[in-house]
């Protein structure tokens, strides 16, 4: 699983390489364009293009029928029924491409989440590091400590919340750069977590991993950027709370998923004729 995650992550690193020094808007427009093209391509390969064309023409014909024979109730109703049938047929034609697209889209979304959903910590900014302990361990008895490379300051002793098996620390970003948090357990085991600090001024596209996952399948699929925590450790996961990376447009604060889907669909529709795809 880790090898697969690494491969996907590398692939996206290459895809986003040209946009790394720029504001995330550029990367967002670019990946939405690519996604739009990818969706069109999948549609062309997997859908019944002739069928779609035909069913769309049929719908048009029935619509015309309704307009022409609007005084004939029976005919209008019949036409409406047929439109409904055609619509169902149309949906069934799109089903296959949807199925084909769903898995790659999921992988894309997972990767995009780490590029657009968060912002790095700014120097001086404080946040929480949360460590979840596996059930059955006594938090109060567990010797555990958090240290860091010089760019991060650990400001508080561990705060143990028995309900939910959580241990929290407050940290403060001091220097820009990639740093490592080190969690020492039982005096002999150590586990690390990446953390990234960058000045807030000119926002750049950056890849952030908020959580180091456990070694189970689903969490490691959802959090592919860091190697899962070895299963022999008493820890479940380690999380750094990063500030949200919403997009701002004309005074609105928009979640990246909304921006992404709107742009991707807009590109898809905009380019369908150029690419020659019937959707």
């Amino acid at each position: 699983m880790w090898a697969f995650n690494q491969a996907i992550t590398w692939l996206f690193k290459i895809i986003f390489f040209p946009w790394e020094k720029l504001h995330p808007w550029w990367g967002m427009i670019y990946i939405s364009l690519l996604t739009g093209l990818f969706m069109l391509w999948v549609f062309r390969l997997t859908s019944n293009q002739a069928g779609i064309k035909e069913v769309k023409q049929q719908i048009k014909a029935h619509l015309l029928e309704i307009r022409l024979f609007k005084d004939n109730m029976a005919l209008t109703l019949k036409a409406q029924g047929r439109i409904l049938l055609c619509n169902l047929k149309y949906i069934s034609y799109s089903f296959k491409p949807m199925l084909v697209m769903i898995l790659p889209l999921l992988l894309i979304l997972i990767q995009l989440n780490f590029r657009f959903a968060y912002q790095p910590l700014a120097p001086g900014e404080r946040t929480i590091v949360k460590v979840k302990v596996k059930p059955g361990f006594d938090l109060l008895q567990m010797p555990i400590s958090l240290t860091s490379s010089p760019g991060i300051m650990v400001e508080t002793p561990p705060l143990r919340i028995e309900e939910g098996g959580e241990i929290d620390w407050r940290i403060r970003a001091v220097q820009e750069g990639h740093h490592l948090l080190k969690i020492k357990i039982n005096n002999d085991q150590e586990v690390e977590k990446e953390i990234f600090v960058a000045a807030r001024g000119a926002r750049k596209l950056s890849t952030l991993s908020p959580l180091r996952p456990p070694s189970n399948f689903i969490p490691s699929l959802l959090y592919p950027l860091e190697k899962p925590i070895p299963s022999d450790l008493p820890l479940q996961d380690i999380e750094v709370i990063y500030p949200s990376g919403n997009f701002h447009f004309l005074g609105l604060s928009l979640h990246w998923l909304i921006v992404y889907f709107l742009l991707a669909i807009a590109f898809g529709f905009g380019l369908k004729r150029i690419v020659g795809v019937e959707i």
């Binding site: 808007w25 002793p157 919340i161 701002h248 005074g251 905009g270």
Partner: protein, 657 residues
């Protein structure tokens, strides 16, 4: 839109966003005239000429010393009464209270004999639609500035002279203007009050305390966890008008003095003795509608008793629920640049210090936050000050003198030698802080800039409190319904209006119970004049038997001293207290305790609600002052003269340069 246009727009939007373009900013700076003459005004509330001179002579204020040497320094005549809202209104409009209608912090409703806010009036929507328990407003509610008269920046605007007016008191909601203004003193907290803090404690004794300006909540620790509510504004969308609140949880470590506070959408960790910085809270009203506020948490103690202080919830400048700036985007611009900041009129929580919820050190820490914010914003405004007028205001000078005078005055009833040793320099420190602000201003100005450093009034000790309503009662002008109940009720609830000729509301005001004006008035128009003079004379002659002093220096009959169309709205008499005396704590809201004069044992120990001659303000400029005894309203006339704007006949002031 054609597809190609759409694509072009989409790309353009992306490019704009990447360049950090803000659609609001484009409209804030209007293309206004560049002026060769500039005026920079530093308004340091309550800076006292005697203290200032003392500190200068001791070599503690190098910037003030330099300005005095190169320019001029005179005491500045203050308003009658010398309360900040009145004094700053004199400066804003160039008139006295007869011209701007602000006579006190507190006015009264003559129909109900109840005190009211003097600065602004908030009215809810008049037309509403009731749907079950929902009340939907069909017209907007309204907040009105009660200060009358035209502000100097409104005159400047007519002549195309740009002005930035930062937190001037008596300008909430800000008077309509295209100039950049942000409201100061008079701006309420999110509850619409002068500021109410919340204190969460497991100490039962503290919960019993009745304190002004704060609410104490009894909380319980269950499984190292506390569940609590932060009260918000009244929900006027609901028929039963419930209080809104934000639920929060506190997780406590079983051993270490450290907690995690979980608000909806945000968590943060505090150690004992730490402040949280600003936290945003959203009070839900109905789906789609909420009110945004900002507050600070302070973890005072974890064990043995848990104590958590939450500052009054300020209006969120990034999303203001009430109007606090002109143009409305100005507060958002500042919030974007500096993050959340204090918007409440008087930000320092003097009530929390007075009621021992915060101690001296904690209060000063909070005041330092306020000062740091003001400093950062001053740098920003000073940096872009290229034309016209910049007015900048600091409140901490006033607030610290109120709270720490007891530690520089050995004759004060609240003097404590031990505390004096530790915090006796708090006042001096704030003078040195504003000296640093002045130094920055001196470094920036050129030969075409007039620099005015001013305060609205000075300061003096508040050692004894005078129960004005009790004096009225003892002198036969005010009667009670139940004699035995004296001292138990406030808001005049025990006053027999049919046998009362005069009553006092606010910090300096005294009203006659006039027939036709007051709901149950008995004094006729014919009796009025003689009665006013009689009361004024008796007040001025009164000698306190315990101190042997005259608590009242002057009792001003307002029609003798006020000019302008609002004089008839003023209290009949304004009291000018003597050095060391002030109105009592309960008299302003209609309390009538048994004794006339009592020692002031509170931490609030310095004051200025005295006679204007006792506590003049300061005026220091980089140009010689021609006027022998300048007054606040003379500065307004001087600003207009600098730009060749004719001084309107309604303005009382005369130019000082």
């Amino acid at each position: 839109m054609k597809r190609r246009d759409f694509l072009k727009t989409a790309f353009l939007s992306g490019a704009i966003a990447s360049a950090g373009w803000d659609p609001f900013r484009a409209f804030t700076n209007q293309g206004r005239r560049d002026t060769s003459q500039k005026i920079l005004i530093l308004g340091f509330d309550g800076v006292d000429p005697h203290l200032l001179e003392t500190f200068i002579r001791q070599g503690k204020l190098p910037a003030f010393a330099k300005l005095w040497q190169e320019g001029d320094f005179k005491p500045l005549g203050t308003s009658i009464p010398p309360q900040s809202p009145v004094a700053w209104s004199n400066f804003i409009t160039g008139t006295d209270p007869g011209g701007h209608a602000i006579f006190d912090f507190i006015h009264r409703d003559p129909q109900q004999y109840l005190p009211t806010f003097s600065a602004s009036k908030t009215e809810e929507a008049k037309r509403t639609l009731n749907l079950g328990n929902l009340v939907l407003p069909l017209s907007g509610g309204e907040v009105t500035l009660l200060r009358q008269g035209k502000a100097f920046w409104q005159y400047l605007e007519e002549y195309d002279i740009p002005a930035t007016v930062f937190k001037i008191p008596s300008n909430y909601p800000p008077a309509p203007s295209k100039q950049r203004t942000i409201s100061g003193m008079g701006t309420p907290d999110i509850l619409g009050t002068y500021g109410i803090f919340n204190f969460y404690t497991t100490t039962a004794a503290e919960v019993q305390k009745d304190i002004g300006g704060g609410r104490i909540h009894n909380v319980y620790i269950i499984g190292n966890q506390i569940e609590a509510k932060l009260p918000g504004p009244i929900n006027s969308f609901k028929k039963d008008r419930p209080e809104t609140f934000v639920n929060f949880k506190v997780h406590i470590d079983p051993v270490h003095p450290v907690v995690k506070i979980s608000l909806p959408g945000e968590e943060f960790i505090l150690q004992e003795g730490e402040w949280s910085g600003w936290k945003r809270v959203e009070f839900p009203l109905i789906p789609t509608q909420s009110v945004s506020g900002i507050c600070m948490f302070y973890l005072k103690q974890v064990r043995p008793d848990f104590k958590l202080y939450v500052s009054p919830v300020n209006i969120d400048p990034a999303n203001p629920a009430l109007p606090i700036t002109t143009p409305s985007s100005y507060s958002k611009e500042l919030a974007e640049k500096f993050g959340p900041f204090f918007t409440k009129g008087l930000p320092a929580d003097t009530s929390a210090l007075d009621s021992d919820i915060l101690d001296e050190k904690e209060f000063l820490t909070q005041d330092d936050f306020i000062l740091a914010e003001r400093n950062a914003m001053f740098d920003y405004e000073l940096d872009r000050f290229e034309s016209g007028v910049l007015f900048y205001y600091v409140s901490s000078t006033d607030q610290r003198q109120h709270m720490f005078w007891r530690l520089i005055d050995k004759n004060h009833p609240s003097y404590e030698p031990k505390l004096a040793k530790e915090f006796g320099s708090a006042i001096e420190k704030i003078y040195t802080e504003v000296d640093k602000i002045l130094a920055k201003a001196l470094a920036k100005i050129d030969k075409n800039t007039t620099l005015i450093v001013m305060s609205d009034h000075g300061f003096c000790p508040f050692r004894y409190s005078f129960n004005l309503n009790t004096w009225l009662k003892e002198s036969g002008y005010l009667s009670l319904i139940n004699e035995w109940k004296q001292g138990q009720e406030d808001l005049f609830l025990n006053v027999d209006w049919h046998r009362t000729k005069a009553y006092a509301v606010g910090l300096n005001g005294l009203y006659l119970n006039l027939k036709g004006r007051e709901a149950e008035g008995i004094v006729t128009e014919r009796e009025k004049e003689a009665l006013m003079r009689e009361i004024a004379h008796k007040l001025e002659s009164y000698i306190d038997p315990t101190t042997g002093k005259r608590p009242i220096l002057r009792a001003y009959v307002t029609k003798d001293v006020y000019h302008g169309p609002y004089t008839h709205k003023a209290p009949e008499i304004i009291i000018g207290y003597n050095h060391g005396f002030r109105v009592s704590w309960t008299s302003p809201l209609g309390g009538i305790p048994k004794k006339i004069v009592e020692p002031n044992t509170e931490k609030w120990s310095g004051d200025h609600c005295m006679d204007p001659s006792v506590i003049p303000g300061i005026l220091m400029t980089n140009r010689p002052i021609k006027h022998s005894s300048p007054h606040l309203y003379d500065l307004t006339a001087s600003i207009l003269k600098t730009y060749g704007i004719p001084i309107p006949p309604t303005m009382r002031g005369k130019p000082i340069f």
